[in-house]
C-alpha cells in the first residue's frame, strides 16, 4: 500500500497512513467498513474502507477484521494507542466487525465473505 507524499489535503494522506499502520499490525486481517459500511474515506479515484478521520473534535473511526489467535482487547488497545498518536491524541473508536477464521478450524465459518 503506497502512502501519498503530496502535501495537499492532509486529512486524506493521514487516513492512508493510518490504514497502512493498522494493516501492518499482526493481529489485523484487514479493514472493514463497519456494521453499516459507513467507516470510509473518499480519496481521489478511490474509497478507502475502514478508516475515517473525524473533523475537528470528532474521534477517528476504524473498522477492522481481526485474526482469531489473539485476544481482541489487546489488539484493540495497541491499535488505539498507535492511531491516536498518529492523529494527534484524538479519540479512536474501533469497530471489530468480523474475525478471520482459518478454513481448517471451521470450514463453514470461514466461508463467510470478507469485508463488504
Amino acid at each position: 500500500m503506497t502512502v501519498s507524499s503530496t502535501p495537499i489535503a492532509v486529512p486524506l494522506t493521514l487516513a492512508e497512513r493510518v490504514a497502512a499502520t493498522v494493516l501492518t499490525h499482526p493481529g489485523v486481517a484487514g479493514l472493514h467498513g463497519g456494521v453499516f459500511g459507513s467507516v470510509a474515506t473518499y480519496l481521489p479515484g478511490r474509497r478507502l474502507t475502514g478508516v475515517r478521520i473525524g473533523e475537528g473534535d470528532e474521534p477517528v473511526e476504524l473498522g477492522v477484521v481481526l485474526h482469531i489467535h489473539r485476544p481482541i482487547p489487546e489488539v484493540v488497545r495497541a491499535l488505539r494507542r498507535e492511531v491516536s498518536v498518529m492523529c494527534g491524541g484524538a479519540a479512536v473508536n474501533i469497530t471489530v466487525a468480523d474475525i478471520a477464521v482459518p478454513v481448517a478450524l471451521a470450514p463453514d465459518l470461514a466461508a463467510v465473505e470478507p469485508a463488504g
Binding site: P73, A91, N93, A97, A106, D108, L109
Partner: protein
C-alpha cells in the same frame, strides 16, 4: 467461574482480569470499542464445535433458517448467519443461545456443561466481554448407523397402474 491465569499478557492495564467488564469501559476516554455480533457468534460456534460429542450446530428451524441466510449476499456482520448460534452483544456483556446436534453415546448433561464452559472461556478470553448466559438446546441426536436419525421407510413401488 475462575479467571484463567494466562489471559492478560499486557501489563499496562490497571485491571488485570479478563472477565472484568470495566476493561472496555476504560477505553471510553480515548474512544469506544464495538465488537460486532458476528465476531462473538463465530467464536462461540468454534468453541462449541471443539467439544467432541457435538456432531453439528443447528437443528430444526434454526438450521433451515441459517442455511438460507448464509446464502444471502451482504448478510455479513449484522445478520445471524451462522447456524445454531444466536448471540446478543452489549457494551460489556454477551449472551449466547446454541442449538446443537449431539453424537449418540455422549452424556448430554456433561456435554452441555462442557460446551457451556468452553464457550464462556473462549468468548471472555477472546473478546473481554462478560458472558452472562449460555443457553443450550439439544435438538437432535446423530446415530452412527443411520445417516439421518429418523426412521427410513423403504419406498414401495406402486402396485397398481
Amino acid at each position: 467461574m475462575t479467571t484463567p491465569a494466562t489471559t492478560t499478557p499486557t501489563t499496562a492495564t490497571p485491571t488485570g482480569t479478563v472477565s472484568s467488564p470495566a476493561r472496555l469501559a476504560d477505553d471510553t476516554a480515548q474512544g469506544r470499542t464495538t465488537i460486532a455480533a458476528s465476531v462473538v457468534q463465530k467464536i462461540a460456534g468454534i468453541a462449541a464445535r471443539e467439544i467432541s460429542g457435538v456432531h453439528s450446530m443447528g437443528g430444526g428451524v434454526s438450521r433451515a433458517f441459517g442455511a438460507i441466510r448464509e446464502r444471502i449476499p451482504g448478510g455479513g456482520t449484522g445478520a445471524a448467519n451462522i447456524a445454531g448460534v444466536q448471540v446478543e452483544v452489549g457494551e460489556k456483556q454477551a449472551a449466547v443461545d446454541l442449538d446443537i446436534v449431539v453424537e449418540y453415546g455422549a452424556s448430554i448433561v456433561d456435554l452441555a456443561r462442557a460446551v457451556r464452559r468452553n464457550v464462556i472461556t473462549a468468548v471472555e478470553r477472546m473478546t473481554g466481554l462478560e458472558v452472562i448466559e449460555v443457553n443450550i438446546a439439544v435438538n437432535d441426536i446423530h446415530l452412527p448407523t443411520a445417516d439421518n436419525g429418523d426412521e427410513v421407510q423403504p419406498v414401495q413401488p406402486s402396485r397398481v397402474e
